[in-house]
Symmetry: C2
């Protein structure tokens, strides 16, 4: 029997993606295909110029009550970011470089914790550089590669792929072609993956 596999589409700015990325980073018995992407272009297609948690005030205020409860449930740290949503373009570009590298899960988890535990600006190059250095990587080389044209093109292609898959929010999981939206469906997605 082959190891269970799951694809996790997530945005580093997304608070519910934070929960799922940290939960999946702990998993030892599942192969995670990390799919960093940007929600911005998806929301723009809906005619939204920001997160629905900003545009819909009642829902947005609720989310900040829901998050500490959810973090307690999953035993994850939590501090409400002083800025939301944070710019996730840089982190996404760096993460694209790590997708098939052994440092990917660690990098993603640390960026998420920077945003949602330490209230750091993950759009700031110094913050991302410190994370890369902290896990023993060459920050200068990776940031240069992140900004290269071919990598920018890869992120645009990722956005097109998200649209083709009809992804409308994050996190979104795929087990083969079965799609699950939201951290609340991660257990279901993992259960299906482990059946396979």
């Amino acid at each position: 029997m082959s190891a269970p596999e799951i694809a996790c589409w997530f945005d580093f700015a997304s608070n519910y993606s934070y929960l799922s990325v940290l939960r999946l980073a702990r998993q030892r018995d599942v192969i995670v295909h990390w799919k960093p992407f940007l929600l911005g272009p998806i929301f723009k297609e809906q005619g939204w110029d920001n997160s629905p948690f900003v545009l819909q005030q009642d829902k947005g205020d609720y989310v900040w009550k829901d998050m500490p409860r959810e973090c307690a449930k999953y035993e994850l740290p939590w501090r409400r970011p002083s800025e939301f949503p944070r710019r996730s373009l840089l982190a996404a570009r760096v993460a694209l470089l790590g997708e098939h590298q052994p440092w990917m899960a660690e990098f993603c988890a640390r960026v998420m914790l920077a945003n949602f535990e330490h209230d750091e600006d993950i759009g700031n190059e110094d913050v991302i550089a410190a994370i890369l250095t902290g896990i023993g990587l060459d920050a200068g080389a990776l940031l240069a590669a992140a900004h290269a044209d071919d990598n920018k093109a890869r992120l645009r292609a990722r956005s097109a792929e998200a649209k083709a898959l009809r992804i409308f929010g994050a996190p979104t999981f795929f087990v083969d072609t079965e799609m699950y939206w939201g951290n609340d469906r991660l257990a279901d997605a993992l259960a299906l993956a482990k059946l396979g």
Copy 2:
């Protein structure tokens, strides 16, 4: 120790409300304060003239894949309604009359099953009358009371209360003042209620 209590705000047209109403109708150890209301005026405040599951096509199509999975999880029957969302005004008005009656849970469950198992038009007075008769009630008297001006005013007051509570979707639960949105939070809300 007093019995645990939970308030359940729901719309008979809402598919995720269907899951929660059926789950709560089975509960024997919790006092449920049923709060039928209409999502329409809430959505209108957002500038939406229909359910987001209709207005956002990718999310809407996903929801009809999610529902059979969720119904299997909770061992509930499911058939996708041929019309969505159905008109829930009449059922809400009748339900207002039952809020403090012993038939309330049964009535709510049967209306939900008419919509989401039997694909019946719950906006049709004959359908609601048959449900009332089926549980041994005087359908004619209840429908007359449902259409009376004082009952219409009660539903308008319910909508105002929903807005004041900053409800933005359904189902929504309250345990004292703690708010939980969505069928995915029902277990959390019940857990808090049972601690109290």
